[in-house]
Symmetry: C2
């Protein structure tokens, strides 16, 4: 377990054993073999926030999860199934998602619209949920609050991911320690696949739904929305954030809500200090986002693109995204071909006003472009930088103090292989 999770939480196993959340993994039968269902059950209902794919072609699970968010439902359980994306399946698809939610609700003791269901997998094939309801009872009964069960659940979410992704952070408010943790799956392949990203984030800190949603939107903008494997988005991408402490706070059960009454960093209504929580959440989301890129299909290099001094954050993001999605840039890194011209050229077509006369570009520790001119890099330095597994790409534009970071991987033979091969 220690090897599986990232973050700075020394007592994460102890937190898990507190029983705030129980986990389960099992097989419903959707995939040809192996576990295809992960379940998260909160001991009490949790406050819920979510951010969903911007693709206008949305899976039935996304519209269902968005409806629960709009109705500000408190959530008792989350079911994630893999093998079928339930996208492009019309009204019958939506009914399938709700049938699974109702099945879980029956076993954990809540209303159907207090269960969020997410799917990942093949697009355009009827899910026919009635075939899979039989496995739900065992899945729900076996749920437990152990590190092993969490590991099983994180693994059951995987498709072509090569490792499960879990991260946790602790943060302190007065005398009370709170936890933020999360799981994610990245680019995974079921025939046919999309670069589907799903993440579930949980905190025990007392936070209202409003704050939860506001902080989640900001953090996703700086983490999950700043990674690219191939520039494609799926109909299923979803990031969900739950606060178990938030529901307790709203219900007035202050026992768990350490911040209340201490007067330290708490707000009047008992919420924890927002920046403290946001930092911890950003840390967890960044861990998970980075691990999705590191586990990107076929990836051999991890690139951190820093854009500094653009005229706005939106301009900086466009520049970073254009570099991160350029096939010419990504193949050059795969080939360890020292090729700053391709990066400068990507910046030039980003659709953003840039003064090349003031621009600087640095790859690793080598300044390669300065004030309208390419600089000469010794061949040994170029080779050394390109051989690094993690390569910083720093673009300095000199027009402001704005700085953003963006993460991507290289484009490799294996990416083409994974996505070109017929796998049925």
């Amino acid at each position: 377990m220690a090897a599986m999770w990232m973050g700075n939480h020394a007592t994460f196993d102890t937190y898990l054993e507190n029983g705030d959340v129980a986990f389960s993994a099992g097989r419903l039968g959707i995939k040809r073999d192996g576990d295809d269902a992960a379940l998260f059950v909160f001991s009490e209902h949790a406050t819920y926030a979510g951010v969903f794919t911007t693709n206008v072609f949305k899976s039935a699970c996304v519209t269902s999860a968005m409806d629960r968010l709009r109705a500000q439902k408190k959530i008792k359980a989350v079911l994630i199934t893999s093998g079928n994306a339930n996208a492009g399946t019309g009204p019958a698809g939506r009914a399938d998602t709700e049938r699974l939610a109702a099945g879980v609700a029956g076993h954990v003791g809540c209303a159907a619209d207090e269960v969020v269901v997410l799917h990942t997998g093949v697009i355009g094939v009827p899910l026919r949920a009635e075939r899979w309801l039989g496995g739900l009872e065992g899945l729900c009964q076996l749920a437990a609050s152990t590190p092993e069960k969490l590991a099983d659940a994180a693994r059951a979410m995987m498709t072509t991911d090569t490792f499960p992704k879990v991260s946790a952070r602790a943060f302190q408010v007065g005398d009370t320690s709170y936890t933020v943790w999360g799981v994610a799956k990245g680019a995974g392949m079921i025939h046919p696949k999309l670069a589907t990203m799903l993440s579930v984030l949980v905190t025990d800190a007392p936070i209202s739904q409003r704050t939860l949603q506001r902080v989640l939107s900001r953090v996703v903008g700086q983490t999950f929305n700043r990674i690219s494997v191939d520039g494609d988005t799926s109909p299923n991408d979803s990031v969900l954030l739950f606060s178990t402490g938030g529901a307790r706070m709203e219900a007035g059960t202050a026992a768990f809500c350490g911040a209340k009454g201490t007067g330290v960093s708490g707000t009047d209504d008992g919420e924890v200090d927002e920046p403290l929580f946001e930092d911890a959440l950003r840390g967890v989301a960044q861990d998970l986002a980075h691990s999705i890129v590191r586990d990107g299909e076929g990836a051999t290099k991890f690139l951190e693109i820093v854009v500094r001094g653009a005229q706005s954050e939106a301009d900086a993001e466009r520049i970073a995204e254009t570099i991160a999605t350029s096939p010419l840039v990504k193949t050059a890194f795969f080939g360890e071909d020292f090729n700053p011209g391709r990066i400068i050229s990507a910046i030039g077509r980003a659709g953003v006003a840039v003064s090349f006369d003031r621009m600087r570009l640095t790859l690793g520790d080598q300044r390669v472009y300065d004030a309208g001119q390419f600089l000469v890099t010794a061949e040994s330095d170029a080779r050394r930088v390109m051989a690094m597994k993690e390569i910083p790409v720093v673009v300095e534009l000199g027009a402001s103090e704005v700085e953003i970071r963006y993460w991507t991987c290289d484009l490799t033979f294996d990416y083409v292989k994974i996505n070109a091969e017929y796998t049925t």
Copy 2:
């Protein structure tokens, strides 16, 4: 020669021998070996129009060619060199381009700003033109108006292109037959390379500079701007259009200007009928654009994307471009993996309002999506469609009569190989 050129011009060789343009190919020494210079010399000065890369990072040759266009110069010769893009080279780079122009001008007898020079090749390396001036005299002296010389020039423009690209069309105005022809180079690799596209188009039809520029901009929008190999643009992309008849018309030498005075399809000032010319030019430009895609790095499939019924032409272009640049769509075609979900998903993230309930998608002869639902395709039909070398992808949105076409190729192992390998 017959095998080399496309188009409907039965007497193209005869046209060439008329001597309106002379061609030459030779070696200046910029590349390690082989011809690296192509020359086009007009018997009299030609009217000139041009469309250039939208990349804000522009080669010195592009700014030089744009200056001549702005000054409405009549052009005597075009020099294209390969091996060095002369981009990111500052003021010294611009001086290098002008030095080559002056060199050609001295040998063909015109002013330096009546010569257009284009470069393609490595970015960010000083060109140091003084080293290459020696080869210009022989290049200019050997120019001749033969099909063999045209073939040599088209070949000297190539980098990793696997075949030279020439197309010609004839069109009739009254009793007079006019010609439009052109050459192009596509995605070619010099270390390091960009998906550089250069094209020179020529007509003997009498057309004013204004009309020439207007028609060129429209035609490029429908041809060269509707192809994608990898979504990258270079600092050097240029399409130049010359009318030898236009300059004669303006000079009042009506001998060559058959349309004048016949009253058939000619305008008052002796220009040929614009739609007739535009059709012929579009045919030539489309031939060349298609051949660039067919010769795309590593390509094994040619995809024609038709988008019909979008709310506007701009919306249709965005949808087509999103499909054409999706790595998931392009690798699926390479793998002959029948995967309509990836195309629907690309449409969904194009950033355009689309009603999926009204949408239809057809691959080859198979309707695969209709009114919000994927249709079942027999496996034998799916295999047959994916085995085709040229696959039509038709998206019908039902919101208008607008229709656009867009061309692309698949993403293959060889694309990654060509662009990842260190070639020096």
